[in-house]
């Protein structure tokens, strides 16, 4: 088990390093963008019409944007080492506070949408995998292809038009009540389902045709019992890996859905920070998202080890 612990520690170290590199790249890219950074910040802060060269100069001075880039970067790194991600150039609030607020919404909706997607995809994928080429398989395939080819905003608009504007069952936008979560969660779920159904279906098909399944059948188990005892665990390996990856993609926000539903998630925060060139928020988000991404993929690996302990031997080695 020490080996596993060592691997985990190593992976967390790698995750931190990756996150730091990602944040540094954010710093480089934001400063490489054309245009005066202080002017962009000023426009975002006081509004398009009020921005003057004087406002930009004041903000440049106040926020220390006139210091050499290497000094700004060095100070940021120094502060991060002490757990301080700085303050937003736009709101003046601590970046950690901004990220925590928006991340809580993204995680909430992301988790619901992600779980919902597997609630839909698992039965459909398994049913399709049990009868490859059957009616269910063909129908779910058509559904997956259709959903995959539809842009997310179109799915969202479709759901809004039906459930919010025509049937008037649900509110079209917002985040304050459970009802507000339904349409964005379904939009997210449907966009995830498009890709997870085929993965689940293929995993099931593959496992069902495996030699050990034939053996299980030969020793007298019914197809369902064989699948329950020997299939599920094996089919779960690619599915869990894929689901974890999907969740990792979800945690950095889903800009289109957030914008359409006026939902204050991380994606929206990031896009606005990019437009406003809010460097501390962009770098902080890079750091946190990069780290979270790595942690989720580590968890996926651990889950895989749990399903398939053979990998433990390699880890010990």
């Amino acid at each position: 088990m020490n080996g596993v612990l060592r691997v985990i520690m190593l992976r967390i170290g790698q995750a931190l390093a990756t996150a730091a590199v990602l944040a540094s790249l954010c710093f480089v890219f934001v400063h490489a963008l054309p245009g005066d950074l202080a002017l962009r910040v000023a426009a975002a802060r006081v509004g398009d019409e009020r921005v003057t060269p004087e406002t930009a100069e004041r903000i440049r001075r106040e926020e220390g944007l006139d210091r050499p880039l290497i000094v700004q970067y060095g100070q940021w790194m120094g502060n991060v080492a002490q757990g301080d991600l700085g303050r937003s150039l736009l709101s003046g609030k601590p970046v950690t506070q901004e990220l925590a607020y928006h991340a809580s919404f993204t995680l909430q909706l992301g988790l619901i949408g992600w779980l919902l997607s597997y609630l839909i995809a698992l039965p459909l994928g398994i049913m399709a995998g049990f009868r490859p080429g059957g009616i269910v398989d063909r129908m779910t395939n058509a559904l997956a292809v259709t959903l995959a080819s539809l842009p997310t905003f179109l799915v969202g608009i479709g759901l809004i038009t039906l459930f919010a504007l025509t049937l008037r069952w649900l509110p079209p936008a917002g985040f304050r009540t459970g009802a507000h979560m339904v349409l964005p969660a379904f939009t997210l779920a449907l966009s995830l389902v498009a890709f997870s159904i085929p993965v689940i279906r293929n995993a099931v098909v593959e496992v069902r045709s495996a030699f050990f399944m034939t053996y299980a059948r030969v020793k007298g188990l019914t197809p369902a019992a064989a699948f329950r005892h020997h299939g599920v665990r094996n089919a779960a390996i690619p599915v869990v890996t894929y689901a974890a990856l999907q969740f990792a993609f979800v945690i950095d926000g889903f800009v289109v859905i957030e914008t359409l539903f006026n939902y204050p998630g991380l994606g929206e925060l990031l896009v606005k920070a990019l437009i406003a060139r809010d460097v501390p928020v962009i770098m902080g988000a890079g750091l946190v998202i990069g780290f979270a991404f790595a942690v989720v993929s580590l968890l996926a690996d651990l889950m895989r080890l749990w399903f398939d302990p053979r990998g433990l031997e390699e880890a010990r080695a």
Binding site: L39, R40, A43, V51, I160, W169, T177, L260
Partner: protein
């Protein structure tokens, strides 16, 4: 066989559970609090600083300025109950309203108002005031100016000068909590999107009829449209004009509109060889089919501008000015006369300079780009090549700073403070204005007129000066209005008594009741 069916049954159960969950939500929608006045607009509560979000504080009537403006343009007392100016026109006394209290219950004193105003005066938008000194005398705030400044009360309507209680500021000099004087006070701020408000029962003026209000920022225009169709707010400011028929047809909300002194204008870099000749600028202006653009793009023919400002600001709208003409033949003749013959490609040129330009527009005002492309087609008819480049709004000041601006098209309000002169000065008297003229030689003449205007307290003389300024701008076209703005507001059928303020300084929510 039985087992196969079992799997299917389980899946069917899961599907049924999802469907039930879906069907169970409808009632949650109706669970909204009926007594809350829900107001939405595109702008987010990004920070507590009056320079940044003071307009939301003022519009939602959380914070107030010393002087306020009524929807008819009349200046009235806000935190200052009255004001006087000395005989030499240099000393203004603003008497602080007796009985006014801040939201934390502390009285509004002249000292508190002065302390708050001092912070605002440091901001760029207030720097136009030639402040000599700001002192307190008894219950009055005394502001001395270095030179006579006749529209001082109007400038004090600027939202950047809202008066906050001394306890509002934290140790770092930033506003930690908004403690102001308006008829509504903040009870909670949820991120940048939602601000919860309650009626302030110790408000000095007309108390709101509703006890609670909620401000929601909905940045995306399509989302505002959806919310309006669903009737999920009570008042939605700045709906997308093209969506009006859909919102009205849904029957939940009705869109009301009002022409306001906000202008979609084009500006030239008059220092460029292709735009230095006034005849060229006039010709370009004559080639634009404003009515066509207003009807096809803005769906409101009445928006077509005939001069810089609409009649909504009577003082700055001169009905006797000849309207912008649409005359392609006349424009071509003017360009021929100015010595710009057509080249082989149909584009005019003179001394090796083509009559061509890139026009920067603002991407977050999508109609500007569509208007720009319409102009692109229209200007072809006079041999001008125009390319339209939408970008972030900061791209325009950046291009001006870098000296690369050729033409711009933007939206500009002329009533940031309710005296247009305060916008004319930065836009038409400087060598490089962000939202106005660039390298225009006529700026010195306008400056002489605005200098006199600012110092004059004679209404008749000021009227004459306004006419002269408007005439120069209309004749020389350093900037030309293409279309005026229709302020569109979707109003829920349960809302009674809404008054729309063309100055957009206050939403006048105290008059609203919910049916």
């Amino acid at each position: 066989m039985t087992n196969k069916l079992a799997v299917t049954r389980r899946s069917a159960l899961a599907l049924a559970a999802s469907a039930t969950a879906l069907a169970g939500f409808p009632n949650l929608v109706r669970a909204q609090e009926a007594a809350v006045l829900r107001v939405a607009s595109p702008w987010e509560w990004a920070s507590n600083e009056p320079t940044d979000t003071g307009y939301i504080m003022a519009r939602m009537q959380i914070a107030e300025t010393l002087v306020m403006v009524e929807p008819d343009g009349k200046l009235v007392g806000g935190i200052a109950e009255s004001w006087t100016v000395s005989a030499d026109k240099l000393t203004w006394r603003f008497k602080i309203r007796s009985g006014a209290v801040f939201h934390d219950g502390t009285p509004v004193t002249a000292e508190a108002a002065a302390a708050s105003l001092r912070r605002s005066l440091a901001g760029e938008s207030m720097q136009q005031i030639p402040v000599d000194q700001l002192t307190v005398e008894g219950d009055a705030l005394v502001l001395k100016t270095k030179t006579p400044f006749s529209h001082l009360p109007a400038v004090l309507v600027d939202y950047a000068s809202v008066i906050l209680a001394p306890a509002s500021w934290g140790a770092d000099g930033k506003v930690a909590r908004v403690i102001a004087t308006g008829p509504f006070r903040i009870t909670a701020i949820d991120g940048k999107t939602v601000v919860e408000l309650e009626r302030f029962d110790r408000y000095w003026g007309e108390k709101p009829k509703v006890a609670r209000a909620r401000y929601t920022a909905i940045a995306n225009g399509d989302t505002r449209t959806n919310v309006a169709i669903a009737g999920d707010q009570d008042i939605i400011f700045t709906t997308v004009p093209a969506a009006t028929p859909r919102i009205d047809a849904a029957g939940q909300m009705k869109v009301e509109s009002l022409t306001i002194p906000r202008v979609r204008a084009m500006a030239f870099n008059s220092g460029l060889p292709q735009f230095a000749d006034v005849r060229v600028r006039r010709a370009i202006n004559m080639a634009i089919d404003r009515r066509g653009i207003a009807s096809a793009v803005l769906r409101h023919p009445g928006s077509a501008a005939t001069q810089l400002l609409p009649a909504a600001v009577p003082a700055w709208h001169d009905a006797s000015l000849p309207a912008y003409a649409f005359d392609v033949a006349g424009a071509n003749a003017l360009l021929d006369q100015a010595g710009w013959p057509r080249g082989a490609d149909g584009v005019r040129a003179k001394d090796g300079v083509r009559l061509a330009a890139t026009m920067l527009t603002i991407a977050n005002r999508p109609e500007l780009t569509v208007m720009g492309t319409a102009m692109q087609a229209q200007l072809k008819a006079i041999g001008m090549e125009l390319s339209v480049e939408p970008g972030p709004s900061a791209a325009i000041p950046a291009a001006i700073q870098a000296g690369t601006m050729q033409m711009t098209m933007f939206a500009r309000t002329y009533v940031n403070v309710p005296e247009v002169i305060a916008t004319i000065i930065p836009d038409f008297t400087r060598e490089r204005s962000t939202w106005g003229t660039l390298n225009w030689p006529g700026r010195d003449r306008v400056k002489a007129l605005t200098d006199e205007y600012v110092q004059s307290f004679d209404d008749a003389r000021k009227t004459a000066l306004r006419r002269e300024i408007l005439k120069i701008i209309q004749d020389e076209v350093p900037v030309a209005a293409v279309a005026w703005f229709e302020h569109t507001v979707a109003v829920n059928k349960r809302v009674k008594g809404l008054v729309i303020d063309p100055f957009e300084t206050r939403y006048m929510l105290q008059k609203v009741s919910l049916g």
